[in-house]
Symmetry: D3
Subunit: 283 residues, 6 copies
């Protein structure tokens, strides 16, 4: 059982359809229908693995008789050369699933691995690394899990599970007390089970948000100095989240400002794939 499985099951079907099309003409022409294959998935870089379950599902979808045995669990840190899974079954079936399974596993492990690097950078500080909604279409739940596998935490999963009032909402409301009004409206109309977060760009807005009882205050594109001041002003009344301009070079400095959370879009929108290959011996 896994989070968001209805969506990613559907995505796997789309991916198989676009890759297999009307069939793998190479295997049909060159591999006997009865040939068997033994394969191993091997990491070719150091990193953190995520996506074992989805890789297994790809082969199960193509041919339930393919055996997929994981050698590591999601969240495992591996060295180049480590065996991640072994696969045994009909050779045409294994070849048919290879690319789609690797595409998913490499991408998710790339997310986990990049997250782990950010998490390592802020080690010893108060700050947690959190993700955003800038995820790959169809892979939201899996990429959010990959962030957890890399040691990060999750921001809201989608638009229905947390209030986040951004610049555009504030512009829509207008008036000098727009921050306060926005928070009040959210308290009144949104599910009482959701926290209310508001994005601010100035110290004055940060103070207004804290005064109005925001559960979380997101500091958007502030300098480290401004962030430290904002943390002072908010004074523990709300969680404080830093956002914007975060990279591996800047993240530790940002953490030093005393914020509780640092959200990093790159975890999911720009993580390079972790290199993983499938090698097998046809018997």
């Amino acid at each position: 059982m896994s989070a968001g499985f209805a969506t990613w099951h559907a995505l796997v079907d789309l991916a198989l359809a676009e890759d297999l099309g009307a069939g793998d003409i190479t295997s049909l022409a060159t591999i006997s229908p009865d040939a068997r294959a033994d394969g191993v998935m091997i990491a070719k870089q150091d990193g953190v693995i995520s996506g074992i379950e989805v890789a297994a599902f790809v082969f199960e979808r193509i041919d339930p008789e393919v055996s997929f045995i994981a050698r590591v669990v999601d969240g495992a840190t591996v060295k180049a050369g480590a065996e991640i899974a072994s696969i045994e079954g009909n050779a045409r079936s294994v070849l048919a699933g290879e690319r789609v399974a690797l595409n998913l596993l490499q991408r998710l492990s790339g997310v986990a691995s990049l997250t782990a690097r950010y998490v390592a950078e802020v080690k010893g500080t108060n700050a947690s690394i959190v993700d955003t909604r800038k995820t790959t279409p169809g892979l939201r739940a899996l990429e959010k899990a990959a962030v957890r596998h890399g040691g990060g935490r999750n921001h809201r999963l989608g638009l229905s599970d947390g209030v986040l009032i951004k610049d555009n909402h504030l512009a829509a409301i207008g008036g000098d007390d727009r921050v306060t009004k926005a928070i009040q409206r959210a308290r009144e109309h949104a599910p009482h089970t959701a926290k209310v977060e508001v994005e601010v760009t100035t110290l004055a807005e940060a103070r207004e948000a804290a005064d109005a009882g925001a559960d979380i205050i997101m500091l958007d594109n502030m300098s480290v100095e401004q962030m430290a001041e904002a943390v002072n002003v908010i004074a523990g009344r709300s969680l404080v989240e830093a956002s914007g301009g975060v990279n591996l070079a800047s993240v530790r400095g940002i953490a030093g400002s005393g914020v509780d959370l640092i959200s990093v879009g790159a975890l999911t929108h720009s993580a390079p794939a972790l290199d993983i290959s499938l090698k097998f011996v046809i018997r």
Copy 2:
């Protein structure tokens, strides 16, 4: 009309479902149902744009009355600050589509932009930059288009539209003449409309493949010197494709070996997103 639309239409639906869930509780609570929004999508980095059509489709899917007007065409080179599209409509609708539209547009423009950098590197050589099947699940057709928008060319789109005999196929066939046998089987059994490509790792295999009439020969993980020799041996009888270990630093050297094609998995599996934002004014 666009390539592969059945798949990516479905993907957009999955992406909207996972992002919207049971609804955007922030907009429902803070934005009036009748509020209108004017927005512009703006590039925040230099790059090449791809994905205009899919971004437009996202908004159409949510609310056909949202007006999306492209300001550039796919393949356009833009500077930071350039306006990519303008969007006008119901404020809740625009906010509901914002993230999914940007996630797609940023990713595809990232692919086009990275491709353009590789293409620039090999300018003046004989070599073309081509993509692989290492694409984002569900986005195969769009990412293949993005590669074209960046000036690259496409390798086969999926398993059904080209024969590519790889190490695993050769292992399955076995024997000293496995390269020759594999090519013969493909000629006999695969559709006569498909070219036959074979992956080789040695000069001897390259020669055998050319002798056996391979349409394309892929040199896997060879040094530049080996590639140059292979080009000599093949002597124009087959197209020659370099693969493996290609990056922005190495690509021009590889092109110098005289190969016809250089395939680069990173174009689609590791392209960082191009930063694009949507800013709007609520009236």
Copy 3:
């Protein structure tokens, strides 16, 4: 644009498929293909309307040339005899959509109408009426909207948008401090954007939950007296929600205990349909 539309669009397709099957053999046999129909949807009972948008969508899905004009908005209180919408178009098309559109509109208006009765009962108290996840499969977002149309508020929309620790979770954790431990785990591992709610059955648990910093405490199946005591003990540190054994006779008494929220499963699992009919004149 509407909450959760991806799901209910799919549901409308399922409903049309199951009702139309291979076609409406009565209309095909007795109605000319060119016949036109004018119809009106009329409330046959007093109530609150919800579902206008989905009724319109049903006809649009069958035949985009059918004109559906709403005469009231969602949330409108109507008297028996009120006209809810007028419909004009090809007679076979209108007949094909009639039943599915009414089935949806009647059900959603039933939810809104029942909610309004509960809301009226607690008028003047501190308590809000909230829904549960006991919704009709596929109609979650629409029924949650219907509750809002009837004057109620929404509890979490699904499992991903709020932490709710129930008896089964507590049993799984075990130990005398299981309430505290559960809350701590949720704080540590769940998205920081989600509130933490815990279900308690005794005063002692209620106190422990408040001490441990629960955002919301659900009092499960307590007597009104116990609830009043719990409200005292919690003393404003957490929101307090009453749950279990709520009906139209008991709800005002429960509200008198001082709880903030009263959740009512019957709003969505047992609301009788509001009687609405479609009458039309074939020209």
Copy 4:
């Protein structure tokens, strides 16, 4: 194998998607991934059970390794406290399916239970209780089965499996002999395998319909006296069905008029859910 399974399988997927969203954040945070759960589904009210198969399917869909063992069969009459099923498996999986499974089982058992009450009311008379097309979207086949489990009979399942000429069809045809003409057209053009039913509102129409050879005549909103007269006039030439204004108080009187069938929309559009809970022990 079950009726209409293609539709309700799809509905279960929609329901799981809307409930699980991107994942159950409570279980992820508080329950160990390896925890096991033993649970029992227990009736909390007297009633008739329906939907065992679909409840089992929900868990199978989430995690095929969850064991679901039915303790009663569909159609069983149970007392409050009766065990309906036992469930064993991964604790997160069981929790993930609980709500959707119960939502379906409670609804279908509610339909069966209400049907049984109507059937009991007309015991000893000639009349059968039959359902309508006023079913929950996506649950048509399952609710029709629930009616059978409660002792009722099914009216046509959808628009393609029976001709039912209603007021609107008659208006469309027009003329003094519209009932006769409608029946003739249906005989000529509809599949010869379908019975022809016509809805009438007066004795004169009832006579005309019988004379014209209607297979079934529906008496719409007539008084019991009018119905008795109509039964006389029709004199066994057609089946006679009463429709409109039927409730538990009126149904026996209607049956006394001599009609063959009494159709009751409330069986499916207004049946309150049967209260069923899932309690489990985490080992």
Copy 5:
């Protein structure tokens, strides 16, 4: 609005996905993105047209701006050379839909044309030509309509809209009075709105079926003489349907036996496509 549209809309999407794959590489390479096309669909054989609506839908699905104008209606008899539709729009869009639209139109027109030949054969007799469930997967409703367009009538549309007791059901019931018992069970348990048909292979069974009140009796693989006797024995108490061994040479003889209906599987399982082409001029 059209019968069974949910299914065939889905089928069109499958067909486009399998034909277009990741895109039409010929048009992309050789046709300018702005080129326009004017085309006409022309019958290349005499026949009866069916499927205009689905052909139009194919182009609408690919590109709503393609204009598709029908020149004939479904059911029209055309001569070779007749123009069936004109199509105008983006050249790539028209080319992308051409094959799928023609595949559907040719197949459905083939069914209508073959039906018309059977209908012509039995002209002047009492018998109607009816179809079976031996239809192309996904095209049931459209092929049933094509049969009507060719002048035939429809048998039941699927398993839920008519009782048809066949040899296997009778074997399952067993006993000397199995025909009678089967009919009784159907009367008792099947919807009262469905007619009861039974397949018989002997005169004795035909008599038993008529005595037991079968609505329709299917004579399976009888000789014309046996059929005439059966018609005599049944004596108007049930409709009589001939089935098995029907072809264009035998059908008139069978009609002469006095049966009411002759069902012909070949109408849908073996109709040759009607030759139709799309020719266009690129401007």
Copy 6:
């Protein structure tokens, strides 16, 4: 594992939905829920079998406990009376799948059988029989496999896996050198993995195409004499394919012209179904 399975799995679901609708009312009424059935699928004509896997899938989809055991493999030549498969399981399940399974198996075996007849006709010549894209919607991959089972070869599977420049493309390009220009554009812009085929109608065009380096030249509707001349002119520089006006009477003559390939649309658009029945004994 099988080619294009994502599409045909979806098609099977559509087919089952349209046939079963809300359930098989005959079996429900007359067959006990526990009855078992033993059945055999038997060929009633000589032919070549194709579609075993999809027939098995139909029953698996309905009821995984039905046992389906193939007695022949795809591609087997059978005589009337041969047993193709045996089926054992719940009687209602077997009856529910019977028609859909047979509809698919009969159609695919029809394609394989007709292909085998064409292949037999050209035995001893140089020519191969190839299919076209004139396939049944949703069955492309299965029908292409059926052609292979009958001894034929496959043309391109869809629009994305081979360049085929037809009359309409040439008209769009225009100019006296349009054949040359078209081939050049395809070389430049289409994937380098795809062969380039061009359709010609005159000897001059055939010569131009060969001179321009076409990989394959399709001779459209030429006489056998013209084809022989074209083969001479092309002189082995390109593969030569005959198309148009091919039937069982003409095919051997066409083969005699020396062409390499003969494409036959009728293989898939007009193959009569192979007669296969399912007979079973209820225990």
